[in-house]
């Protein structure tokens, strides 16, 4: 192993060792908590191949190459799993993976021109590359006004299409940062969830109601700025409209903030200048970003770890993710509290949190159910076996490109300047195949992503996805032999067993079993007159299998 890889590993190990004195390792706590509530036998550990594919997808957003798989499987070092986790966390794809996962989670595939997707992605990638503490990142997203360069794109969260209404913002801040779907509480206290009151809803709205999208007429740059707030908000339940109430900004379960009054004309701290909007003296959204993300806000901490847990484990400790309330208790209440507290204590270090999760036996458990245990006797919330997660549209794209050996060529392809590519034009045959990675990703997310505003949590295999895999010319083009891609490489191998090995390692990150070896040999024999096409079909069958589609 090269030296530069060893060094960060040692640093992390030292950090971990330092923590032992104070508290048990978090991954041990996770395993104890899960074992305690398993209610039945636990699955054995995942095989090296199973673990490798899973951790690559989770921490780098793609499957490994066949060469990486070979070297990991051959490695005899007993600490190789931990080393792999550390290598992926330090690797270049980690930030991209987190950017993709968090973009899908926070924007829910909403798009908009106020802030370009590119600059938002760059901002998130830089944040994760630098391992910016999660409370700070969340705070920047919540408070962003677009006045200063590096965090300017953070306002995208609020100014994206379909979210520019303050009610929608309130609902999405509550869902995504506090784990509360308060929609029903806009018009009355939630009918079935006692904790979600209309006062909570309006308390949150009061932080956001005076924030507006403005454009600098000179630079056309978008701002999301605060304007003076006249006073507390009025509200009344539709069931008792005569009972008029008022609230200033207030977080659920916390104290209301008094809205200061200013003499007319004295609300402004800095007047507008050169197209840059004015700054009012009282800025409730700035307060929101501080109060919401503080370690004292239990809901924020719990929602945060619950969402990272969901990304790694395939299901929230509280599930659905945005129904965190007493009537929908966590599967492991004590563990959720421990994760939340230790994450805060660790200064909201995301890499540390993901690392601890990845090192747990719970994460490294096989997806095969324990012997004799039926699926219905091992409900997902007990984590007796690994939960299969659907590949996101992004993971699927990177993995398809990686598996078919077309990734390098596409990454080297010149970027299409001012691309006019749209999904609609493409499927209607008005424009040719995607020419660069951005167009490819746009096509793939249009097929495999949800419509804007629909969260992607559960696996929803649609007929449209299958039709795409069955019939899409782009995918077919990846299965034609070209410049060292998978089908090209396999075409040069004479022995069927060698073809099978390279095929299975490249696509499914594992070696074929005897049955699969025979199957490949028979297929090649049956279609020997058209061997290259037959190899493409073998690869297609693996790419279209559930084993490829799921992160298991």
């Amino acid at each position: 192993m090269p030296m530069r890889r060893v060094f960060p590993t040692i640093c992390v190990l030292l950090a971990a060792t330092g923590a032992i004195a104070a508290e048990p390792l978090l991954h041990r706590q996770i395993d104890r908590a899960v074992a305690k509530r398993a209610g039945g036998p636990l699955a054995g550990p995942a095989s090296d191949a199973e673990f490798m594919r899973r951790v690559y997808l989770d921490l780098s957003g793609t499957i490994p190459t066949s060469a990486e798989a070979r070297s990991f499987l051959a490695d005899k070092n007993s600490a190789k799993r931990q080393k792999l986790v550390d290598r992926l966390l330090a690797g270049p794809n980690y930030a991209r993976r987190m950017q993709e996962a968090l973009s899908v989670m926070l924007l829910e595939r909403r798009v908009g021109k106020n802030v370009s997707a590119k600059s938002w992605e760059k901002y998130l990638r830089n944040s994760f590359a630098k391992n910016k503490p999660w409370d700070r990142l969340a705070g920047e997203i919540l408070s962003g006004e677009g006045r200063s360069e590096p965090s300017q794109p953070a306002i995208k969260f609020f100014v994206v299409g379909g979210r520019t209404d303050q009610h929608q913002m309130t609902r999405d801040v509550a869902r995504l940062f506090l784990g509360m779907d308060v929609q029903c509480a806009q018009c009355h206290d939630h009918p079935s969830i006692d904790e979600y009151t209309q006062a909570d809803y309006f308390g949150l709205l009061a932080y956001l109601t005076s924030s507006k999208v403005k454009k600098n007429p000179k630079t056309q740059l978008a701002y999301f700025v605060e304007t003076p707030l006249a006073g507390p908000l009025d509200f009344a339940s539709v069931f008792s409209p005569e009972d008029k109430r008022k609230t200033g900004p207030r977080l659920p379960g916390k104290k209301e903030i008094a809205v200061p009054t200013f003499e007319k004309g004295k609300e402004i701290d800095q007047p507008a200048k050169d197209g840059v909007p004015a700054v009012p003296k009282f800025r409730p959204r700035t307060l929101l970003s501080e109060q919401l993300t503080s370690a004292g806000n239990e809901r924020f901490k719990r929602n945060s770890v619950n969402r990272f847990w969901y990304l790694m484990m395939g299901r929230g400790l509280v599930h659905p993710l945005d129904l965190m309330h007493k009537g929908n208790p966590p599967s492991h209440p004590k563990l959720l509290g421990q994760l939340a507290d230790r994450f805060a204590k660790q200064k909201f270090d995301v890499k540390w949190l993901l690392r601890e999760m990845a090192l747990s036996e719970t994460y490294q458990r096989s997806g095969l159910l324990p012997k004799g245990v039926r699926a219905e006797d091992a409900p997902a919330e007990r984590y007796q076996a690994a939960i299969a997660k659907p590949l996101s549209a992004e993971q699927l794209t990177w993995s398809l490109l990686q598996a078919t050996g077309n990734l390098d060529a596409l990454m080297k392809a010149a970027e299409v300047k001012d691309s006019k590519f749209t999904f609609k034009d493409y499927i209607n045959g008005r424009i040719p195949l995607p020419a660069d990675i951005a167009e490819t990703m746009l096509l793939m997310t249009s097929v495999f992503g949800n419509p804007p505003g629909e969260a992607e949590v559960d696996f929803a295999p649609a007929v449209g996805h299958s039709l795409y895999l069955l019939n899409e010319p782009l995918l077919q083009s990846w299965l034609k032999p070209k410049g060292g891609n998978l089908v090209d490489r396999l075409g040069k191998l004479k022995e069927p067993a060698k073809v099978a090995e390279e095929l299975y390692l490249s696509v499914l990150t594992r070696l074929p079993n005897d049955e699969e070896n025979t199957e490949v040999a028979e297929y090649l024999k049956r279609f020997e007159k058209r061997r290259s096409e037959a190899i493409g079909e073998l690869a297609w069958a693996l790419l279209a299998s559930a084993e490829f589609r799921l992160n298991h």
């Binding site: 079935s192 409209p241 069955l470 069958a541 279209a544 084993e547």
Partner: protein, 431 residues
């Protein structure tokens, strides 16, 4: 007010133990129907002779019974609309349904529904699952259950299609314990998905061979795992392949101008016309969802608007199914998750009301032109007998040729009643 269930009728005298005993050794018919042991076999034999179909219209958010099936004009809570005569002498429904009124001889009304759920999040799923007793399993939605009982029929098309506004997809969660493949294929805005044509470079032989490999991989992979996701994924491929053979079903050029005029070009009109085409093609269960019935405010204007969208296409599809002779094997159901309050709120709205509401159903296997049960003069209570959603499910299952008293699910060895066993069928509707 009493909540009297029509239970312990003669249908219940057959005990489960006896039934399991009686059916033992008769396990041949199941495989011929592809019903693979999830139903007790003797019943499967029963169903084999007649292909049945279902049109299920789901009015999401809850339609007001007072502005539709059970009007109370000139009463305290009656609202501004009149009641009009229908094709059934003596039966009157809201004037907001003038075309439907002419169809009532093909339909029946149940005016004495009393269910238990009063908010959407708790009602929408249990109502469509028939509110069975809690046995720690998730029951299938009606569409998944019917897809299971009746299969795809001769059409080989996916048996459960769901036309809805917005996005499509595969709603495998509908299937509950039946397993993912009985989920709903949702057609967003009634449209077919893209990519319905195979590239010319892939021959029939190559396509069959590559798909056989794919399926073998899935079979190997599912061993010893939670199979729901794997089966759902596999099913999405087989559905895709069947649909590819019937592209014509979605071809707008095949619609006549007259049909488009009769059904209307608005969303629900288009969706119901698409539903007719799918039923004609032999799809077993077609669900059509219409949203926005949750009229907490401005109930009367909204219902005038919504029912105008519903009325004409609904009457048109009833005419068409009847003219084509399809009503003889097609059961039609119009349902919401509950009714709406007689009391008119300060926002001129009606709120959620599961205590006394109505639904409409008719066509194959059901009495036509019948009215079951009644509410009091103000529509606030049921007078006399009441029915719960369990009764409705018993009735629907009987209508499509399954007797819940004689059959049950076999959930990996766990026998489960098809519908809530505290209920029985609505006798007045059985034929």
């Amino acid at each position: 007010m009493t909540h009297h269930y029509q239970c312990n009728g003669p249908d219940h005298t057959l005990s489960r133990r006896r039934m399991l005993g009686a059916l033992a050794g008769g396990g041949v018919a199941a495989s011929t129907l592809g019903i693979d042991g999830l139903l007790r076999p003797a019943v499967a034999e029963d169903m084999k002779s007649k292909q049945r179909q279902v049109l299920f219209i789901w009015l999401d958010g809850a339609m007001s019974q007072l502005e539709s099936w059970d009007p109370k004009p000139h009463t305290e809570f009656g609202g501004p609309f009149r009641a009009i005569p229908t094709s059934v002498p003596g039966l009157r429904i809201s004037e907001l349904l003038p075309h439907t009124a002419k169809q009532m001889h093909r339909l029946s009304l149940v005016r004495n529904l009393h269910t238990v759920f009063e908010d959407h999040s708790r009602a929408v799923k249990p109502i469509q699952r028939g509110d069975p007793k809690n046995r720690g399993v998730t029951y299938p939605f009606l569409g998944s259950a019917v897809a299971k009982f009746l299969g795809p029929g001769e059409s080989r098309l996916p048996p459960y299609l769901h036309i809805k506004p917005g996005s499509g997809g595969f709603h495998y969660q509908d299937a509950g314990f039946l397993g993912a493949r009985y989920g709903a294929i949702a057609l967003g805005d009634g449209k077919p998905p893209s990519h319905m044509t195979r590239p010319k470079s892939i021959t029939d032989e190559a396509d069959a061979a590559r798909n056989a490999l794919r399926q073998k991989l899935n079979q190997r992979f599912r061993k010893g795992r939670r199979e729901a996701e794997i089966d759902a994924y596999d099913y999405s491929f087989s559905s895709a392949q069947q649909l590819m053979k019937r592209k014509d079903l979605f071809d707008p050029s095949k619609l006549t101008a007259k049909d488009q005029e009769r059904y209307g070009t608005h969303q629900f009109g288009r969706h119901l016309l698409q539903a007719r085409r799918l039923l004609e093609a032999g799809v077993t269960f077609v669900k059509v969802t219409m949203y926005y019935w949750d009229t907490h405010a401005d109930n009367f204007n909204l219902h005038a608007d919504l029912l105008a969208q519903f009325d004409r296409p609904f009457a048109a599809i009833m005419d068409d199914l009847s003219d084509a002779g399809m009503l003889e094997h097609t059961t039609v159901i119009v349902l919401s998750e509950f009714g709406r309050t007689p009391k008119i709120s300060q926002k001129v709205g009606r709120d959620h009301f599961p205590e006394a509401w109505s639904m409409c159903m008719g066509g194959a296997g059901l009495a036509q032109g019948a009215v079951v049960g009644k509410t009091n003069a103000k529509g606030t209570w049921i007078e006399g007998e009441e029915y719960d959603i369990g009764h409705v499910f018993h009735t629907i299952f009987r209508a499509i040729g399954i007797d819940p008293a004689k059959t049950e699910y076999d959930n990996n060895g766990q026998p489960l009643p098809l519908a809530n066993e505290d209920c029985g069928p609505i006798k007045e509707l059985l034929v």
